[in-house]
């Protein structure tokens, strides 16, 4: 404690540079931790400025439909969820203090935290929770967000502090699914939504630790600490400023010039990330997510209806080379849909090896010319991805035509199966069931590969009603082996999320789903 105070005084007075004492800090960290509890006093106060990529359209789920990552970052400050993810990726209590479930995992009962108020003074209770979901699900409201709560038959207030979720399909880990600061699970004040009408979207009210003080569209959102927060001792910062900085180079420049303290980054900024890693006054936060960039092969159209062709396409993928070409080697190859951040770890995921010779032989064996189109987004990145794949497949005698389309056209095309191969993404979900079931179950509308296999269906059905994690891992690894063998989908790179921050910014937890949660951050 004393030591750290002296050190920070020396830094402030310019006696020593932070970089010089870095090794000393590291050495101290372990020792001091053991001797005196937390070595670094969590300093209270200060302003943190965060540079995000996109402008935030708003927070009313009926208007914006789905939050993007920038909105998630703000939502983590303004709102609370019933539960939150701990560093181990498991659900921990937040607005709910405890929960129980029925034997079939179709009914979940949450006991809510008492004496919590929304920022406008409205009491937070079971009625408020039920109201939030009822509004999202009301067919009259036509909310895009309703898709994501389609599995909730109803959410009912049993008494003031007891709320019951009735599910259509079982969910063995519902609390984890409620942890994302997204359009569905962020609890919004019913009074404010009703009173403000159209203006609520840009004047959000939650129970969270920070409140919107001012918001200039396209420029900045200023949030101030909520003095009545239910857990106010855990909150250190006085003020947080969120700024949309759409250009990656000037976003990084704003961090270097000191205008921002934390900036969002991605693997296409390999240069900036490498530069920050060498700079002692900066830190690079990385989170290996639980999902991947994937592609669905339409198994109903020739020549992709032949398993040999599909296997050949997958075996021709030289992922390290692709990573080098597209992201300077930063992108991490994926051999299954789960990602390093997932609790699903497979000893054998059945990945086909990279083997261009064997791939060419399979194509030859097929005997007919292999020609098809693949969808890409109409962006420079989409073009780069397309060209790399085109070259790799050309080597094994496959003729792929790049079809670049607007980002917005990919989902409807995929939905109507109007494609040969389409890019897709397995988004980070705290539980794999949602996405695995949606994308791989034969009767799901998102079974993009058009592929039916009773064995696959059985595995997916079993995994969603099994509580034992080890058994679920077995199921999901079997799913991976089956899909890899049939080559109905292929995975390219794991989801990886980056943020670059000044070294003095502390207390940012794991960036689950790419969300930079600065609600509990402090400045050293």
């Amino acid at each position: 404690m004393m030591k750290s105070m002296i050190r920070s005084a020396m830094i402030r007075s310019g006696v020593i540079r932070p970089g010089v004492i870095r090794s000393a800090t590291l050495a101290c960290a372990a020792v001091c931790m053991a001797l005196a509890g937390p070595a670094l006093a969590q300093k209270k106060g200060g302003t943190l400025t965060v540079g995000l990529e996109l402008d935030i359209p708003g927070f009313d789920p009926l208007k914006v439909g789905v939050y993007d990552t920038s909105a998630n970052v703000a939502a983590a400050l303004i709102f609370d969820n019933l539960a939150t993810l701990g560093d181990d990726g498991k659900a921990k209590p937040k607005l709910a203090e405890s929960w129980t479930h029925s034997d079939d995992y179709k009914t979940w009962t949450f006991k809510l935290r008492p004496n919590v108020k929304f920022q406008d003074g409205t009491p937070f209770n079971a009625q408020a929770v039920a109201w939030n979901y009822a509004r999202q699900k009301d067919p009259k409201n036509n909310c895009r967000c309703a898709f994501y709560v389609a599995n909730f038959l109803s959410v009912e207030a049993k008494d003031d502090l007891t709320v019951v979720y009735n599910l259509k399909d079982p969910a063995v880990d519902l609390p984890a699914l409620l942890t994302r600061p997204d359009q569905n699970s962020s609890m919004q004040s019913p009074t404010a939504v009703q009173a403000k009408g159209d203006d609520y979207n840009r004047n959000p009210v939650g129970t969270g630790p920070f409140m919107v003080k001012s918001w200039t569209a396209g420029d900045r959102m200023v949030l101030e600490r909520n003095p009545n927060y239910w857990n106010k001792d855990a909150i250190k910062l006085d003020r947080i400023v969120l700024r949309p900085l759409p250009d990656s180079q000037s976003r990084f420049a704003s961090l270097q010039s000191g205008e921002t303290d934390v900036v969002w980054a991605d693997e296409f900024e390999a240069d900036n990330i490498a530069k920050a890693r060498k700079d002692a006054s900066k830190q690079v936060l990385v989170y290996a997510g639980s999902g991947a960039a994937v592609n669905a092969i339409n198994t109903k159209v020739p020549p992709l209806d032949d398993v040999r062709v599909r296997q050949a396409l997958v075996m021709a993928l030289d992922r390290p080379l692709m990573s080098q070409a597209i992201t300077n080697g930063l992108a991490r190859p994926a051999s299954n849909p789960y990602g390093d951040g997932s609790w699903v770890k497979c000893k054998d995921d059945g990945a086909l090896p990279f083997d261009a010779v064997k791939a060419a032989a399979l194509i030859k064996d097929y005997g007919k010319p292999v020609k098809f189109k693949m969808l890409f987004t109409a962006t420079p990145r989409g073009r780069a991805n397309g060209q790399v794949l085109q070259q790799l497949w050309k080597k094994i005698g496959v003729d792929m035509e790049i079809e670049q389309v607007d980002q917005a056209t990919i989902p409807p095309r995929a939905f109507q199966r109007k494609f040969d191969i389409t890019p897709w993404r397995i988004v980070d979900f705290p539980d794999p069931d949602v996405q695995m079931f949606a994308n791989f179950y034969s009767k799901s509308p998102l079974n993009l590969a058009n592929y039916t296999n009773p064995e696959l269906d059985k595995l997916l059905e079993h995994a969603r009603v099994t509580a034992d994690e080890a058994k679920r891992i077995d199921d999901y690894c079997a799913v991976s082996r089956l899909i890899n063998h049939e080559a109905t989908w292929f995975w390219t790179f794991q989801n990886t999320y980056y943020a670059i921050a000044k070294a003095k910014v502390k207390g940012i937890p794991k960036m689950f789903g790419g969300i930079i949660d600065v609600s509990h951050a402090w400045l050293q």
Partner: protein, 316 residues
């Protein structure tokens, strides 16, 4: 003069109408519409069709256009479905930023361009002229995004004199406001001054060969007086035209500069609206930009009349 103004004002209406119609057509050609944007990727085609009908999106294009026009004529430009903002407030938030940037950039461009043009015209063919002409072409071939990044690197990261990104409202902090506009304005002015200089230089060279200039010289007027009073005014018709076009363009925002410097201007609003299929904002902003363009051109026409009496008296 009044008839001239009146005639020009009458031209404004058909232009605005045509621009609105054209935007409507282009927007309807974009893949995806408001209904599918609202309902999202996962919606069934039946649900999208139902919402389209409910919102009147299944009506023929001309009916939708007339409906929108009817609203505009009653002062109702609509509300963004996505953000809940009215078009008026969205534009009112962004327009001052784009306007201030435009004034600073164009002013700076003229401030650099005019003196250099006069210098080149007077010293036509000299080393100075050749050097400045070369520099101008060199500048023209440097794209603004590169200039912007270089300026940020030098003045924000290395020297720390100016902010790299962002914007401060003038009412909050006038100095901070001006500081935040320096780099973007210089970036834009860098692209403007070579054009302005080249245009004015060639017109000025032609003017300096006129008989009345020789006459003025013979009368013993000072070179400064000849250049600024007698030669500049008749030489500036093309300059005024080019400046007018540039101003009109800058009212519509400059996407690249706004994006790099993170300025909340019209350009980003417009492009954001296109990506989000926020047609009501798109349509409203285009209407504003078009009106701005037309008004600036109208002022340019007025300036012609001031600069050249022949136009004023309808003899040209």
């Amino acid at each position: 003069m009044i008839r001239f103004v009146g005639r020009r004002l009458l031209h404004l209406l058909p232009v605005l109408l045509a621009v609105s119609l054209f935007t409507f057509l282009i927007a309807s050609l974009l893949p995806g519409d408001l209904a599918s944007t609202i309902l999202g990727d996962q919606a069934t085609p039946e649900k999208v069709a139902a919402l389209r009908a409910q919102m009147g999106l299944d009506l023929p294009l001309w009916q939708r256009f007339l409906h929108w026009l009817w609203g505009v004529l009653h002062g109702d430009l609509g509300r963004s479905f996505r953000t809940g903002e009215t078009v008026l407030s969205a534009v009112a938030d962004r327009l001052p930023v784009s306007l201030e940037l435009m004034v600073m950039a164009e002013g700076l461009g003229l401030l650099i361009g005019i003196p250099l043009a006069i210098l080149c015209a007077v010293k036509q063919g000299s080393g100075v002229d050749r050097f400045l002409t070369g520099l101008a072409f060199g500048k023209l071939s440097l794209p603004p995004f590169m200039v912007a990044i270089l300026l940020i690197y030098l003045f924000a990261v290395q020297l720390g004199w100016l902010p790299a990104t962002g914007w401060v409202p003038f009412a909050e902090d006038p100095i901070g406001n001006l500081r935040s506009f320096v780099l973007p304005a210089v970036t834009l002015a860098f692209a403007e001054w070579p054009v302005l200089m080249r245009v004015l230089r060639s017109d000025m060279i032609a003017t300096l060969q006129e008989d009345y200039i020789a006459m003025a010289k013979a009368k013993g007027l000072t070179p400064a007086r000849i250049l600024l009073v007698h030669a500049l005014k008749p030489s500036s018709l093309t300059l005024v035209t080019v400046t007018g076009i540039n101003i009109g363009r800058l009212i519509g925002g400059t996407l690249i500069v706004e994006t790099i410097f993170a300025l909340p201007g019209i350009g980003r609003l417009l492009v954001g609206a296109i990506y989000a299929r926020d047609f009501i904002i798109l349509q409203g902003v285009v209407l504003f930009v078009a009106a701005g363009f037309v008004i600036v051109n109208f002022i340019v026409d007025m300036l012609y009349a001031v600069l050249d009496p022949r136009i004023r008296h309808g003899r040209a």
